[in-house]
């Protein structure tokens, strides 16, 4: 008797219950708290906020806990939550020049106004497992940095490196624009996309995808000769205009990572020889992503700068933008787990028919 996928409802309930048990793990081990994840898994939290497009460290930590540490699943939880939130207001553009920097480095100048600030970085650490971290309960020996700290609030602005080059006309001018950028979470993606839309897609795009795209440009697929003009991480104030008050009010602070690349450019039919820019801006401390984003941004600007399209994937706007979102990608990839037996049946009939005809032809020939 035929009893195929009956009882789907009960199966789903049981699977969810089992999942909850697996998430909790061994009951003799204390449960992770949201605060622990937020404080000690901060870079995972940052990634979930960036790709989830929602700046809320507590919710991101909750999502990570609920997703059993699967960051793409956590991003998905955040996205699904975010989409239900009302849009109360649009903030003024944040001023990264007024950022309270924790880290600020330039690879193009040895020293510069505002200084080189190394900040909390994995750079120059030796990647040796630190077994003292395994010694639970004992506080590992972490001396607090002596004296020098990152630049605090209220100190003078940290000028952007590219502005120094700008003064000499050595780098393309990035004119500030007042146009309201499109919102890819509220409008369907229309191609060709302008740069603001591309940057939006990249900043919430999958870190791994954007990284690989950027890497491919370094290896010759759409080479753009990038230098890290500047990389800065720190907090900026978010301000919102209150029409009733007639002035802007600071509603909070967010941490951002900003990267500007300076790219060699020999000139084209339309543009003189000068340095050109790639830009990356990502929520939280997400350095790898910000650098990768700025490389991909620059590669995608080939048309505007009159360069040739070499067929490199990173130059191909439609390819990059349509495939960088990991929530879309993972959903569609994993949907092939769903039953497809109706289509498969149709294919079976077709293959059987084609085979029967091919066999008949073969027999006739023999």
């Amino acid at each position: 008797m035929y009893v195929a996928v009956k009882g789907g409802e009960r199966a789903i309930d049981n699977a969810h219950q089992w999942l909850a048990e697996e998430r909790r793990g061994d009951l003799s081990v204390p449960e992770l708290t949201i605060t622990q994840i937020r404080e000690q898994m901060a870079l995972a939290v940052n990634r979930v906020m960036a790709e989830g497009s929602l700046y809320d460290p507590d919710l991101a930590a909750l999502a990570i806990k609920q997703a059993r540490g699967d960051l793409i699943e956590a991003v998905f939880l955040i996205r699904a939550y975010r989409t239900t939130l009302p849009r109360l207001a649009a903030s003024n553009p944040v001023d990264t020049g007024a950022m309270a920097v924790d880290r600020r480095i330039s690879a193009t100048f040895k020293d510069l106004p505002g200084g080189q600030v190394l900040g909390p970085t994995f750079d120059y650490t030796h990647r040796l497992l630190d077994f003292t971290l395994m010694a639970e309960g004992k506080t590992p020996d972490t001396p607090s940095p002596s004296g020098e700290e990152g630049r605090g609030e209220g100190e003078s602005r940290v000028p952007h490196v590219t502005s120094f080059l700008n003064r000499d006309g050595l780098i393309e001018v990035a004119e500030p624009g007042d146009a309201t950028p499109p919102d890819l979470t509220r409008e369907p993606m229309e191609l060709p996309a302008d740069r603001t839309l591309r940057l939006q897609a990249l900043t919430r795009g999958d870190e791994g995808f954007v990284l690989s795209m950027a890497y491919s440009t370094q290896r010759g697929y759409g080479r753009t000769h990038a230098f890290v003009g500047e990389l800065r991480i720190g907090t900026v104030a978010v301000e919102v205009d209150i029409p009733e008050l007639g002035f802007a009010v600071e509603i909070g602070e967010i941490e951002l990572t900003e990267c500007e690349t300076v790219n060699q450019f020999k000139g084209s039919k339309t543009e003189p020889p000068q340095f050109t820019r790639g830009y990356g801006l990502v929520m939280g401390q997400s350095e790898r992503k910000a650098i990768a984003m700025s490389l991909v941004d620059r590669a995608l600007r080939w048309q505007e700068l009159g360069e040739d399209f070499t067929g490199a994937p990173a130059q191909d706007e439609e390819f990059v933008l349509m495939h960088c979102d990991n929530i879309q990608a993972t959903g569609f990839l994993e949907h092939i787990k769903l039953p497809h037996y109706v289509d498969f049946q149709a294919e079976l009939e077709l293959v059987r028919k084609l085979r029967a005809e091919a066999m008949a032809l073969q027999e006739a020939a023999e």
Partner: protein, 297 residues
């Protein structure tokens, strides 16, 4: 996620906020006004993954009213896991009545099938669509395919079908078989078996197609012409397994093939579970019919 009933109360009727529903309804109306044309819409992230029916779910959410009676099927069956999941979602977020009976439903969300029981005026059939673009596998670029639709440039599709005939002696597409709508747009009917294609045309129900990830909605209003692409000397043919249903004996329904043992044993059963159960309830019996075992819902 919506695991607790109380959490559902935090959301609007049918989950989406009214602004979003209005935006989707506009896209649906445009789709109905231009049958077969793919209308871009600002698809939202849903609490289920892209590729799992988010387009259909958004269209259903935009169509539902509290008086509706909803049916959800996947592969023709009401009890497949994803159909169960989507039906539950709307039970929780919209509190609408649900049914498995095609004739009793006002809105039917489907994946990969059109029910066997003919639809009637006033019903809405919502299809989940993975890839809305019928030309996608011939031309991967959206910018190009939109242009091809604008210019009614469907030569590539005919070349593909012709090459099939040259190579295989027939058109080697068995599901998601493209149709031309009202002599204008070539449309992907979603991955339904071509057996279902004739039901697309002249259907008294409203047929809506939602592709969430690809951000497209399109429609076949009632009594619309939808012609499966073919050639005069190679007319379109439907196909199904050359058997009768082993449970209800139906000769003209689409069948699933079920492997019953590891020695080549097979049985064939209606993919439309409501159709099959209805026939059995009316006393029709197939080759292997037996009373339903106890304890199986």
């Amino acid at each position: 996620m919506l695991d607790a009933g109380s959490q559902a109360e935090a959301y609007n009727f049918a989950y989406l906020d009214e602004q979003t529903k209005r935006m989707i309804r506009r896209a649906i109306l445009k789709g109905i006004a231009v049958p077969g044309y793919q209308v871009p819409f600002a698809s939202r992230e849903m609490p289920m993954p892209y590729g799992w029916g988010t387009g259909g779910v958004q269209v259903t959410a935009a169509c539902l009213v509290p008086e509706d009676r909803l049916k959800v099927i996947d592969q023709g069956a009401d009890d497949t896991t994803n159909a169960v999941s989507i039906r539950r979602f709307f039970q929780r977020t919209a509190g609408v009545a649900v049914t498995e009976a095609t004739s009793e439903a006002t809105v039917i969300q489907t994946r990969h099938r059109i029910p066997e029981v003919p639809l009637t005026a006033g019903q809405i059939l919502v299809y989940q669509v993975p890839i809305p673009e019928p030309l996608r596998f011939l031309e991967p670029r959206e910018t190009e395919t939109r242009k091809m639709h604008e210019l009614e440039e469907y030569g590539l599709m005919h070349v593909k079908l012709y090459e099939d005939i040259a190579r295989h002696g027939q058109i080697a597409t068995s599901y998601a078989y493209p149709v031309k709508v009202e002599g204008r747009y070539v449309m992907d009917p979603s991955p339904i078996p071509k057996f279902d294609n004739p039901k697309l045309a002249g259907n008294p129900a409203i047929q809506l197609f939602g592709a969430g990830r690809e951000q497209r909605i399109y429609a076949l209003p009632p009594w619309t012409k939808a012609v499966s692409l073919d050639f005069d000397d190679h007319p379109f043919e439907t196909s199904k397994a050359p058997h009768d249903c082993d449970l209800c004996g139906a000769k003209d329904s689409y069948l699933d093939e079920v492997i019953t043992d590891d020695a080549g044993g097979r049985m064939y059963v209606c993919s439309d579970t409501d159709f099959c159960a209805g026939r059995r309830a009316r006393g029709m019996k197939g080759r292997l019919w037996a009373p339903e075992p106890e304890g199986v819902a």
